[in-house]
Amino acid sequence: MTSRMSQKNPFGGPGNPYNMFFASLAMHVILLAAIMISVPGSTRQLTFGPSYTVALVGPEVIASPQNLPALRDMMHPALSDRPVILKRDTHLSTKVPIVKQDDSGRQDIEKAIASLRQKDAASMDRDSTNKFPSGPPTPSPDQAKINDYSRFIWNKIKKNWVLPPSLMPKENITAIIEVRIGANGALEHVAFEKKSGNRYFDESALRAVTKSAPFPPLSGWGTGRSIDIGIRFHSAELR
């Protein structure tokens, strides 16, 4: 009975134990590969590549990211703080009691806003076209650039994270948000890898991420297509 079954082996051969072993090994490996392809590679446990952890808590990282050499080209002027400029524009229409002048002031503001929007759109176009080369992707990411990029992301998201301390629960909590940043810096994917259990904490973390987008383009380094980042928000310092 056993010998008959061995002879029906699709890999041929008269039941050679080495063939059986290799066949079994190959099946297992291809199955694992198939699972990897069907599930997005952003989940930590299913990622084959290295998983980096960047601890950014020292005072040196609080320094402006513009000082980082690897980020100088990423820090495009269009990404600088806009409200200051806008506030300056809106001063034009104040303290003008005459209706006609009011209208002209209003038109000035509208024009200023329209031109600002155009500039914003143009700068985003420039970012996506000029900064990112259309050549083949870099085969392996440069660790230093990844660290600098992460530092910039950390700084930007931290600045945009708003949460009054009084909304904190008693215990320490952590939320992890996974993001995928495209080659042009766009936020391609954002989702919770782990929720903290506190709705208001989780929502504030999600707002910080979405408000921080778009990010600087990858500028030809990294994996070429996108970069996956896990952002862990901790409550410990808040309490």
Binding site: F22, A26, G41, I113, I146, V162, P164, Y200, L206, A236
Partner: protein, 439 residues
């Protein structure tokens, strides 16, 4: 080559290929963020729009209502109001769409906008709250009210904003009771959380101190010297009637109500020295909780009713102690300074506020109920005393005395965002007590 070997090589190549493809997006970086950049929500509040304003109504009414909403949001200490001059997007009557990017660009996290529709006698406010960074409408509600009482409408709007963003309705429908003292007389007054509607509660022509609200908002207890010595009275906020509930020989000092409003803590000296008792308000049954030759005063209940904090000099100087509600398991929780008194237990349960003498000044501190995490909240050159928590547990009211100036002030629970609620030289203002949420 054998067929089996060809199969094997094929599978191996396939696996290596797929692994290589996936490797492109495999590298994952983890970033840790342990403190937010800001502790106040940036919010934009547009002026409410009105299509048609009746001739007998002020054209300023919609913007007045908007100003009240802004003021109340500021009072909470949770919001940073953005300057309307920075707004990119105007809001014309009937405009339905929101350009979220225009609001995120100026730094807003949230946007409040809406309109006012005037009826024959009343008006309706339609109000929307947006999460602009995520492009979400959080709520769209209508509020009907009197045009002559836009503050109530504004309170309703802001209460809903707080509920949506914090899960808590805040402290808007609350009052603060405090003592006004002029020469040898003092009486209790109440004032709204927003500083309006100052009203007297007592008129004893004597010394009245230590107001205490019942958690159900029905009663206020206090100590009065009307009979020549301190006795405890219970005042009905509903009927305005009061009755004497503790007039034993010696001192009768008012403590705090139990969380179910059925019991009242007292300090009595009827058995020689000052001890803490609990009085059942229905049965008038009195139970002694402390048995010590030292002075035990200023008792206050924990929000779950299981513990009581009080002041005792049993260790040589006035310090804060915590005991079980039946008087057992007494533990000292303050060890810094030689004079710590006036404990007040946070409604959130984990912190106790008190005043302590440091550098010849009284300052407000908070500490965990087990004595850990001591935090000094006030540092100015004044005597800051009598802390009392707001119902949300996010704010603390206290009295402050600097030279001849007396103030009732409110601060966030972490000591930030101090604002003066009531300021006076004569009469002096002191001993504030925050009410529960009132209907």
């Amino acid at each position: 080559m054998k067929q089996s070997h060809r199969w094997f090589l094929f599978f191996l190549s396939a696996c290596l290929f797929f692994c290589g493809v996936n490797r492109d997006s495999a590298a994952k970086v983890y970033i840790d963020i342990d403190a937010p950049g800001f502790q106040q929500f940036p919010i934009a509040v547009c002026d409410l729009q009105a299509k048609k304003i009746p001739p007998d109504r002020s054209a300023e009414l919609p913007s007045t209502l908007s100003d009240h909403i802004r003021s109340l949001l500021t009072l909470t200490g949770l919001f940073h109001l953005l300057d309307p001059k920075s707004f990119l997007e105007g809001v014309e009557p009937g405009t339905q769409t929101v350009r979220f990017s225009d609001w995120t660009m100026i730094g807003a996290d949230f946007l409040v906008r809406g309109g006012v529709v005037f009826g024959v006698r009343d008006l309706t406010v339609d109000c929307q709250l947006y999460d602009v960074s995520r492009g979400l409408l959080l709520f769209n509600k209508s509020y009907a009210g009197s045009p002559d009482d836009v503050k109530t409408l504004a309170r309703a709007v802001v209460t809903d904003i707080l509920l949506a963003l914090t899960g808590d309705e805040g402290d808007f429908n609350t009052k603060i009771a405090f003592v006004m003292k002029k020469q040898n007389h003092s009486d209790i007054f109440t004032i709204n959380y927003d500083g309006t509607d100052l009203k007297p509660v007592t008129s004893h022509q004597s010394i009245v101190v230590a107001p205490r609200w019942s958690p159900d908002g029905q009663y206020m207890a206090f100590t009065s010297y009307r009979a020549g010595r301190p006795e405890v009275y219970l005042y009905s906020l509903k009927t305005g009637k009061e009755k004497k509930i503790a007039a034993f020989k010696g001192l009768n000092l008012c403590g705090a109500f139990s969380p179910d409003s059925k019991k009242l803590l007292l300090t009595l000296s009827k058995d020689d020295n000052e001890e803490i008792y609990v009085l059942d308000l229905d049965s008038q049954q009195l139970s002694r909780l402390t048995h010590n030759s030292a002075i035990d005063v200023s008792p206050t209940w924990s929000p779950d009713g299981k513990k009581i904090a009080f002041v005792s000099n049993r260790s040589g100087s006035p310090q804060i102690f915590v005991m079980d509600a039946d008087g057992g398991n007494v533990k000292r929780i303050t060890f810094e300074g030689n004079y710590n008194t006036s404990p007040s237990w946070s409604p959130r349960g984990n912190r106790i506020a008190y005043e302590g003498l440091i550098n010849h000044r009284y300052q407000i501190f908070t500490v965990d109920e087990d004595g850990g995490n001591l935090l000094q909240l006030t540092f100015d050159n004044a005597d800051n005393e009598y802390p009392s928590w707001s119902p949300s547990g996010r704010q603390i009211v206290f009295s402050s005395k600097q030279e001849t100036a007396h103030r009732i002030s409110i601060m966030n629970f972490n000591g930030l965002n101090v604002r003066v609620l009531k300021e006076s030289k004569v009469p002096a203002v002191m001993m504030p007590a925050w009410s529960p949420r009132l209907k």
